[in-house]
Amino acid sequence: MEVGLFAATLLLVLFSSLAVSHKSMIYSALFLALLGLTNASLFFALGFAIVAFVQVVVYVGASVLFLIVSISMLREPASRFVAPRYGLLGLAGVVVFGSLLAYFFGTSANVYPHLISYGSIALQLVELGHYGVVLLFLLLLVALVSSITVATGDKK
């Protein structure tokens, strides 16, 4: 279990750096999809099985796939990535900051994942009010309609 978690975190950092720095945009989007899958595995390991399922189905399965298909329709020239001058320094700073943050906030960590049921999530949604759900539904609807409208707009 622990070895798997360590491997997943290493893959997370590896896929994120490859998604940002790869030459080809299609491969960058592909690494973004792999990053989403690795993230979902970490969610599952922490006990957030429903969020992991939604991440795989909605985010990776629909949105990132849409991004990959859209980029593949572009006539992409061969691009090159120039290493940033202060990138390694910034990365080292981020690593130090993350370690400090983890040291100070991680002391109350429980070692077992929580068991979350769909019923408890739905119950809290009802307790908090339906406005958030309605707002999210409207947002997704507007995004879908505007995406279709923009994609089927006037051709040059």
């Binding site: 975190t9 950092v13 940002v20 960058s28 957030f48 909605v58 983890a102 507007v142």
Partner: protein, 107 residues
């Protein structure tokens, strides 16, 4: 410090590193698709951080709700941004090249 504790410290450090990598990519690239991919990388790190904080603060249901909302909003945002960028590419308002390559071509 137990072994399990170190595992979850590593998860939090990895999420912060992923956020940093996404922000670096957002600052360094000029191509809108690459900027969008960097933004999504950063979003993945933030989502992991939110769920981890909910986990250590023993609020798993609340962080699950926040995570579900974040995934939904991010999916809609990604679809909308990709459609807008593709439409702008098709109309010729944007270039596929990076800023550095455009400067090379201008020379």
């Amino acid at each position: 410090m137990s072994a399990n504790f170190s595992v979850y410290v590593v998860i939090m450090a990895a999420s912060v590193i992923v956020v940093g990598i996404g922000v670096l990519g957002l600052l360094l690239h000029r191509n809108p698709i690459r900027m969008l991919i960097s933004l999504e990388v950063s979003f993945n790190g933030v989502l992991l951080l939110v769920l981890y904080l909910g986990w250590i603060l023993k609020e798993p249901v609340l962080s699950s709700n926040v995570g579900l909302f974040a995934v939904g909003v991010s999916s809609g945002e990604l679809a909308l941004m990709v459609s807008i960028i593709m439409a702008l590419f098709r109309k010729g308002y944007l270039e596929v090249l990076d800023q550095e390559e455009m400067e090379v071509e201008e020379k």
